[in-house]
Symmetry: D3
Amino acid sequence: MANKVKEAWKSGKAVVNGWLAIPSAFSAEMYSQCGWDSVTVDMQHGVQDYLSCVACFQGMQPSGVTPMVRVPWNEPGIIGKVLDAGAYGVICPMVNTPEEARALVQYSKYPPAGTRSNGPIRAGAYGSSGGYQKTANDEILVIPMIETKQAIENIDAILDVPGIDGIYVGPSDLSFSYGKEPKLDVEDPFILEIYDKLLAACASRGISAGLHNGTAAYANRMIKKGFKLVTIANEVGLMVAAAKAAVKEAKA
Amino acid sequence: MANKVKEAWKSGKAVVNGWLAIPSAFSAEMYSQCGWDSVTVDMQHGVQDYLSCVACFQGMQPSGVTPMVRVPWNEPGIIGKVLDAGAYGVICPMVNTPEEARALVQYSKYPPAGTRSNGPIRAGAYGSSGGYQKTANDEILVIPMIETKQAIENIDAILDVPGIDGIYVGPSDLSFSYGKEPKLDVEDPFILEIYDKLLAACASRGISAGLHNGTAAYANRMIKKGFKLVTIANEVGLMVAAAKAAVKEAKA
Amino acid sequence: MANKVKEAWKSGKAVVNGWLAIPSAFSAEMYSQCGWDSVTVDMQHGVQDYLSCVACFQGMQPSGVTPMVRVPWNEPGIIGKVLDAGAYGVICPMVNTPEEARALVQYSKYPPAGTRSNGPIRAGAYGSSGGYQKTANDEILVIPMIETKQAIENIDAILDVPGIDGIYVGPSDLSFSYGKEPKLDVEDPFILEIYDKLLAACASRGISAGLHNGTAAYANRMIKKGFKLVTIANEVGLMVAAAKAAVKEAKA
Amino acid sequence: MANKVKEAWKSGKAVVNGWLAIPSAFSAEMYSQCGWDSVTVDMQHGVQDYLSCVACFQGMQPSGVTPMVRVPWNEPGIIGKVLDAGAYGVICPMVNTPEEARALVQYSKYPPAGTRSNGPIRAGAYGSSGGYQKTANDEILVIPMIETKQAIENIDAILDVPGIDGIYVGPSDLSFSYGKEPKLDVEDPFILEIYDKLLAACASRGISAGLHNGTAAYANRMIKKGFKLVTIANEVGLMVAAAKAAVKEAKA
Amino acid sequence: MANKVKEAWKSGKAVVNGWLAIPSAFSAEMYSQCGWDSVTVDMQHGVQDYLSCVACFQGMQPSGVTPMVRVPWNEPGIIGKVLDAGAYGVICPMVNTPEEARALVQYSKYPPAGTRSNGPIRAGAYGSSGGYQKTANDEILVIPMIETKQAIENIDAILDVPGIDGIYVGPSDLSFSYGKEPKLDVEDPFILEIYDKLLAACASRGISAGLHNGTAAYANRMIKKGFKLVTIANEVGLMVAAAKAAVKEAKA
Amino acid sequence: MANKVKEAWKSGKAVVNGWLAIPSAFSAEMYSQCGWDSVTVDMQHGVQDYLSCVACFQGMQPSGVTPMVRVPWNEPGIIGKVLDAGAYGVICPMVNTPEEARALVQYSKYPPAGTRSNGPIRAGAYGSSGGYQKTANDEILVIPMIETKQAIENIDAILDVPGIDGIYVGPSDLSFSYGKEPKLDVEDPFILEIYDKLLAACASRGISAGLHNGTAAYANRMIKKGFKLVTIANEVGLMVAAAKAAVKEAKA
């Protein structure tokens, strides 16, 4: 199966990414058929763990979306496990220094690029015809989250770490770390200026930048601004918003 | 905890009901906080079984919505189990004859009204102060589904069965049984005329009629028409519609 | 593995039986090591289904207690499944007529005694050395619950059904069906007199009678009265009572 | 997705069918990629229930095998549920009379052929382009098990029931009902003669016959004999046999 | 929902805390209604993981007890996840140095006090009206376990770390680290003297001390001695003790 | 229960070890009865997490095989948890330095040998009569994986760490780290020479060496070569191979 995110990025296009917080293969199955290019299981803030991630991956497999994971932390055990489960991309929270970025690359890549252990239990079954182990280092996207003041200050050193394919910006944590209210779909010029700098720093290195968004309208603006991967809330957020609207309309 | 559906019906009001197909306590928890008066776990067509129903009930308990179940079939084992789990209402598919309606009442009520067995394992913990067993027969709603030509032909005999609190109309099965395309939010005058007859037959007996709907707009119309319980799709349907719209807007 | 209940009954002894409502193999594992002769998974009023029953059986296997099940209803599908899972006894609720008793025996026994289907997926692994299928009809106890006025009136005809090994009395349903308050550990002379008649009717046929109890003290009395299987509440009831007492003492 | 079993049967070919007893989507996923034409979740004797069946279906979806179910019993609730989950064939145990066969057809087909209720929650997502409800009655195979003396005696009447696509023979139950030892891969001429009669009775009506086998060698013979669907043990049986052989060889 | 532990501590009162080892929402639900002020999911030594913790939290939510967690280790990934799930307190094992205590505070608090990432998926739904993120740093209790010789030697430096609300003493590990038998409800004067020193060191800083106990009687003594949070065994321990006593009494 | 691996090693014998990737207690239960001396739950590359490991342990308990775990990483939280669950051996991946080996020993042993925390929730129930805590440090095997060039270079220092009972060689990672194709059942003289050196280094210290193998034939050779623990693929690998062969034979 091709990595649709990688392909889009190669051709300079943006992808629209889904986000899973509900630990249900059925929910993931239905949601993955809605037009997303990729769908990410959120093991950090979502109600997800390793086995629910595997279940969600199974649910989304027939849809052809590219499966990715946001891991709970920059830790080799869980990064290896989600890759073995078939993740085509690892989004890792709170990567604030080049050392942390290097560790992330190490955990995510087979030798000689890294120290990932061999055993792609589920990934191997869906790997490319060239052999999963031979193509994994190229195919799988390593995407540190840039979401703190410290990361912004270290951005050039982080982006210079070999093996980084993209970055993912968490707006609420970024705002939080600058002493601002944690929220999505930021209009604060200070934060938007940071986005511009990040986009420029990425562009100069051929790295793609992604952003977490609260609404499709904002995500659409951010694609036009230059972000190459935009997420829109998560599946439970969309469901809750739709349910509230439906109740209101029915009771009108 | 009061039965909000029963209270609303006593005062002639309509309730807006949610519908759960995803077997996840977390999904149910978030969805139940969206303003629904009641939320029904769909054990017939939803991806639900008894233990997922219990989990959904636990997830929705803090919200204060009234928990109900659509059972998979008119069968005493599962009806007893969902009542023990804490259902305040049993919606039962394909009740086509007064005999089936009587059986449903029997399964749902304690002696002397019925033959339900005593052991409200979870229900007892949240029962009224008067003692669960003393109030259950009054509090718990027995709601046969009227969704076939046969049921329509038997409607008076069905509604005359003592212990029936309401009916629930399944539009797609009803249309199907008359040789029409199975669908929700019907505009076919033939079916709408049946609705009128049902509403009249119910109203004359103090029984409330419910309807499954595809959209909030149609549900709103049906409240005005006289239905006292309207469901809007289910949680996964709302999520899928919202996700498709979000993807489309983001990619615009 | 020997059927300890059968062995005890053969020698005229009574067994003390545990009762599982919590769907957890770990809980079952710890509880089964407390001295019970047999432990019954309560699929009727407990928070249990087929897969949780299998898990509980796995948890209790090392303890050597005899595993039994109270099925949710007198239905061939689930009776076959719990026997395949390894139940050594089937306690079936609401057996009120000899026809229902005959059906229960049919569902529980291999040909020619009954119509149980062959496929003891888990039971076969722990069956006797003579071959599970050859000994199952003899080893597995068929135990209808006698818990309604109707059953009492039909008691001789029910007990005369070939293949009935024991009966199990549900005091709260029995009281309920006579218009009395549903409760355990009954002191009502009317009900106690029924117990005497049941014990006599059983004794004359070599059938053993069991009883559900709320407390160990009452269970002890009932053994002395002639009951050959006594259950004491269930595991969650014991836990709740102990927890309330502990909180009270700690706060004193 | 096409029904590979139906297609093969149309062209007179036999299919090799897998059988799932382990309630694991991962196990089902790996097993379904081994070359089977169809894979059946065994809800009767396997350690399976409705939600594990859904999980197994999700696991096997990418492989393209045709998913089928052996239901625990001829009961409308569970038959409707597994069809909604996406089963392309229903194998139903212990169908002994034409009445039972007619009931099975009723439960399995939408009006006007039957009384199946509309709501293909998962099946609808993978249905044919013509619309799931329009093609389901034609696409989904209804396959009663012929596994008792009574069924053999009623075979013509059973096969004459409209809507029967095939039969499935359970050798161990069939032998059991004739007072013989319950086993697979039978060489008993009496039973083999029954097979011949069944094959002839099926062939004359354009109905396909399936058989449960213990070994691939026997299954191969049975294809040559005329059976159009052969199952080989189940996944756990194959695993256990392989494991025992491996241990033996390693310790040699 | 108010943090009952924090409120009690503010007014100088002690709380009685429950402890969950069984990974079951139902068990947690029933247990949480027994009078505990708070109930802690034990992810270190209990049979618990992240998703079972979420399930237990859902089960205990209606009871109003304050939910807390003992995390398996002082690791940012899991600490963030249990806080997002709604924990009002984090009890962390084996905090032996001020560096480890500082790390624990960092992981547990939002900026600027710490580096916790924003995304209170379940916690946000039950947060205070002032907004979860604004009150979390104040409301959520950070409670290192003091349970080794090293921790005792570093106690002043540990307690001086800003953000520590309480300590929790693990008597068996503490005894173990001093070369004594690991056990609860210690009477060893050497250990009791350590308790006195800990209580004094805490009291002088306005920090509350908690203790794990085996019996309610000992817990009661420890409240009187000055401990402000006492746990009594765990739910499975209470159940096992009650079951053993019941069997013994029934068989007497 | 005795540690069969330890006993065999004491007497210089080799053990044949099973390997579990399927997260199912039932699968583990059947597989554990195939003649293995020990069975290891693979939490690194298998589809396993902590709760599935507990379930597998429960499934395998009656078989008497010695339960072991390959942990996902050298991390104290998970090592403590699997030991509490009842592991008799910890196989830890990627131990490349003596420091890492020392950490592994620390995490795995009670004071004074290590810093493992007391609370053997499930292990305690099956511990030796002398008391689990008194015998655990002796009984439980600590087995670092030697699977990188770095580990080979540090082998003497690693093996000199007190508390190491054995090593486990991962051939595919070892080959990978030397720039060779990652595979099992290696015939490459360079790697085989490393095996010889490892065996000699182990033998001189009374440490046993284990090896992961793809086939029983190769495992048999490796026992003869001097390995004292040989694993043969895993349960899902054996199943898949058997299934492919069965399909092929049936279709022949």
